[in-house]
Amino acid sequence: MFGFLKKAPPTDTSENTGWLARLKTGLARTGSQLSELLNRGGRIDDELYEKLETILITSDVGMDATRLLLADVRRQVKEQKLTEVVQIKEALAHALLKLLQPLAQPLLTDARKPFVIMLCGVNGAGKTTSIGKLAKHFQSQGKSVLLAAGDTFRAAAREQLMEWGARNNVTVIAQQSGDAAAVIFDAVHAALARNIDVVLADTAGRLTTQAHLMEEIKKVKRVIAKALPDAPHEVLLVLDANTGQNALSQVKAFDEALNVTGLVLTKLDGTAKGGVIAAIAKAHPIPVRFIGVGEGLDDLRPFVAKDFVAALLGVEE
C-alpha cells in the first residue's frame, strides 16, 4: 500500500520539470561518467576516444552505433577544429541527437475513431503496466479509453488489467476464454458501439524464438482487422530499458511478424541506461512513442529526443 503513497504524482506546477528531473536521475549514471571524463580537461587523443567508447558500450549503445557516433564526433572535431575536451560533449550530443531525432514522432490518435492500439513484447517488458499508464495519458487528453485484456496466457494477467481498470475508472473487456483474438475482437466492437476514442489491446508476453506464439500474435492482428478494417492503427512494441543488445532482435522479430509502428521504452528509472535506443536507431529505426521513468501513473511520456539526449549526457539546458 505504501507504494502508492510513496509515489504520489507530482503537483501540477512542477509536473513537467519533475518528470524531466526523474528522467535525468534515471539516466544519470551515463551523464556523470561522461562529465567526470570530460571535465577533467586534457587533450583530445585516442585514449579519450577509447574512454568515450567504453562509456557508450556500458550504456548498451552497442558496437555498431558506438562506432557511428564516435566517427561523427571525430568528424566534428576535425571540421570544427575542436581542441577542448569539454567541446566533445557538445559534439557527442549533436551526433546522438542526429541519430535519435528521426525516432521522435509522437503518436497521433485523432484520425481514427476508435483508434486501436495493439501492444506486444517479450515476457516481463511491462506491457500490462504500460497499458494502464497509456490509458491515463489518453484520458488526460479528454479521450475515452477502453482496454482489452488480451493476455490470456499468464496467470492473473486479466485480473491485473481489470484491477487497473477499476482503480482508474476505465472499462476493461475480458473473457474467461483463452483466445486473445476473440477478446480483442469483442473489445473493438464494444468500442464502436460505445463511441470510444482509443482502444488499448494487451497481448501475452512472448519470446521471439517461440514460432507458434509469433504465429498466434499475427493471427490476433489479422482478427483485429476483421473487426475494423485498417485496424490496428498502431502496433506498439514494449521494450524493457534494462535489455541489452537483444532489444535489437526483439525489434526485428516483432517488426517482421507485425509491422511494428512504434516503440515504448519502459523502466528507464533505476540505473537503466536506455542507450539501446541508439542501437535501435542505427540498426532498425522505428519511432519511439513513449518512454517510462517511474512507477507512477504519469511517468510514461512521449519521447522527446532533445530532452532524452540532454538527460543521457547530463547536459544542462
Binding site: A155, Q160, T208, T209, G244, G270, T271
Partner: protein, 451 residues
C-alpha cells in the same frame, strides 16, 4: 541461446587456422574479436576486460604448444576460462535447515520472480519430494498475489493467501508460522519487483530478510539484461546476503551474457535457468555445459538428463526389452515414444539443447511439433489389432484410418514407412538397449522427422 556467440567464436577459429602458432600479434586480433563477441552478448565491459586478459595470459603460456592446432588451443583456453568464470560446477539448493527451509526471491520488475517461484515449487516437490508452501509478498503490482495463487493451483502446491492491505513482513511471518504448524519443508517467498535505486523498497526487502532468515536468498535476473546487470546485481548483493542466482528467459535468443556478469559481480553461483514458459521449464545450471555450449559443443548432457526425467522409466524398460529382442516393436511403442517425447517439452525444446551446428541441420529438416501431433492422431485412429499388426494395414484400412484422423491416405503411408524404418533401426540395436543408445539413435527414430 548462445548460438551467435558460438558462431562468432567458431569464426575466429577459422581465421586462426593455417597458422603455425599463436603470436602476440595474431592473438591480439583474436582477442579483440572475443572482446567484441562478448560485448555483443551483453557481457559487462569490466567482466570482458578481465576475461580477455585471463585468456591472453593463458593462451600465451605453454599450453598452446603441443599436438593441438592453434585454434583448438584457443578454444580450449576460452572454454576453460569461461567455465572458471561461470563457476566450475553446479551448486544445488541448500535446504539443510530446521524446516521449513525458507527461500526468498528478489529481483527487478519483470525478471520473472513469480513464474520462477512456481517453477521452483514444482521442481522441489517433484524432484526433491518436498512439501512446499508458496506465499506472495507483492502487495504493489495489481493481481500479483492472484497470479501466484493461480500458479500454485496449477502445479498443485499449497498456497498461503495474502492480500494487499497487509504489510509484506506480516504476510511472510504469518506464512512461516503456518508452514511450521503444517509441516511444510520448504517455504518459497515471492516478493515485489524493485529497482536497486529505490531505497525504501530495498530497505523493505532487507527487513523481510532479517525477519525470515532464509537459508536461500535467490536473485532472479532476466537473461536479456544488458550492461546494467552488473550494477543491479551489485546493488542487490550489497543489500542482501544472496546465496544464488536464477537466470530466466534463457529460451529466448538473448546471448545470455548477463550470466557471466552477474556471476562475476556477485560471486554467487547460478543455480537454475528458466528455459520455457511451461511450469517444468526450470533446469539446474551447469557452468561447464554452458561454456561448452558457447563453444559449439552443445548441451548433450543436459539433453540426456532431461530425457531421463521426462521418460517413464517402467515404460522405457519395456521398450528396451523389446529392442533387445529385436522384434515385437509395434505401433503402440511408436506412439509411446511420441507421448514421452511430448513430456520432454516437444521436439522444439529438445532441438534447442543440441549443438548449434546440429540444431541448424535439424532446422533444415523442418522439425515440427504439429507433424508429431498428426502422427499421434493417425495412430489413435487405428484399432488395437492394427497397432500390433501394422503389416495388416492395407488400402481399405488406410482409407478408414485417414478419414478417422482427418488426413490423406498419403500421410498414413508416410507414417507406416517411417515406422518400418524405425523398426529396422531397432533391430540394429544390439542386446544392450540402454538410454544412451536410445538418445544417440534419436534423430533417426523420431517420428515426424523424416520427410
Amino acid at each position: 541461446m548462445l548460438d551467435n556467440l558460438t558462431q562468432r567464436l567458431s569464426g575466429i577459429v577459422k581465421n586462426l587456422r593455417g597458422q603455425a602458432r599463436l603470436t602476440e600479434d595474431n592473438i591480439q586480433d583474436s582477442l579483440r574479436e572475443v572482446r567484441l563477441a562478448l560485448l555483443e552478448a551483453d557481457v559487462a565491459l569490466s567482466v570482458v576486460k578481465e576475461f580477455t586478459a585471463q585468456v591472453k595470459q593463458a593462451a600465451l603460456g605453454e599450453e598452446v604448444i603441443g599436438s593441438l592446432s592453434p585454434g583448438q588451443a584457443l578454444i580450449g583456453v576460452v572454454n576453460r576460462e569461461l567455465t572458471k568464470l561461470m563457476g566450475e560446477h553446479n551448486d544445488a539448493l541448500n535446504l539443510a535447515a530446521v524446516p521449513p527451509a525458507v527461500i526468498l526471491m528478489a529481483g527487478l520488475q519483470g525478471a520473472g520472480k513469480t513464474t520462477t517461484s512456481g517453477k521452483l515449487a514444482k521442481l522441489l516437490r517433484e524432484q526433491n519430494k518436498k512439501k512446499v508452501l508458496l506465499v506472495s509478498c507483492d502487495v504493489y503490482r495489481p493481481a500479483a498475489i492472484e497470479q501466484l495463487r493461480t500458479l500454485a493451483q496449477q502445479i498443485e502446491v499449497d498456497f498461503f493467501p495474502s492480500d494487499i492491505t497487509q504489510k509484506p513482513q506480516d504476510i511472510a511471518l504469518a506464512a512461516l508460522d503456518f508452514a511450521r504448524k503444517h509441516h511444510h519443508e520448504v517455504l518459497i517467498v515471492d516478493t515485489a519487483g524493485r529497482l536497486a535505486v529505490d531505497a525504501a523498497m530495498m530497505e523493505e526487502i532487507k527487513q523481510l530478510h532479517a525477519a525470515l532468515k532464509p537459508i536461500e536468498t535467490l536473485f532472479v535476473v532476466d537473461a536479456m539484461t544488458g550492461q546494467d546487470a552488473v550494477n543491479t546485481a551489485k546493488a542487490f548483493g550489497d543489500t542482501l546476503p544472496l546465496t544464488g542466482v536464477i537466470l530466466t528467459k534463457l529460451d529466448g535468443d538473448a546471448r545470455g551474457g548477463a550470466a557471466l556478469s552477474v556471476r562475476h559481480v556477485t560471486g554467487k553461483p547460478i543455480k537454475f535457468v528458466g528455459v520455457s514458459e511451461k511450469m517444468n521449464g526450470l533446469e539446474a545450471f551447469h557452468p561447464d555445459r554452458m561454456a561448452q555450449r558457447v563453444l559449439g559443443m552443445g548441451d548433450v548432457l543436459s539433453l540426456i538428463e532431461e530425457a531421463q526425467r521426462g521418460v517413464d522409466h517402467v515404460e522405457a524398460e519395456k521398450l528396451a526389452k523389446k529392442m533387445q529382442s529385436g522384434k515385437g516393436f509395434d505401433l503402440n511403442d511408436f506412439k509411446m515414444q511420441i507421448v514421452q517425447m511430448k513430456k520432454m517439452g516437444g521436439m522444439t525444446a529438445l532441438m534447442d539443447k543440441l549443438p548449434a551446428q546440429l540444431s541448424q541441420a535439424a532446422a533444415g529438416a523442418k522439425v515440427d511439433d504439429r507433424q508429431i501431433n498428426r502422427t499421434e492422431g493417425i495412430i489413435n485412429s487405428m484399432t488395437a489389432f492394427e497397432r500390433s499388426h501394422p503389416e495388416q494395414i492395407k488400402a481399405s484400412r488406410k482409407r478408414r484410418i485417414a478419414a478417422g484422423a482427418g488426413v490423406q491416405v498419403m500421410h498414413v503411408n508416410q507414417l507406416l514407412n517411417q515406422f518400418e524404418q524405425t523398426q529396422k533401426m531397432m533391430k540394429m540395436f544390439s542386446s544392450k538397449g540402454g538410454m544412451a543408445k536410445m538418445m544417440r539413435g534419436m534423430k533417426g527414430m523420431m517420428p515426424g522427422m523424416g520427410r
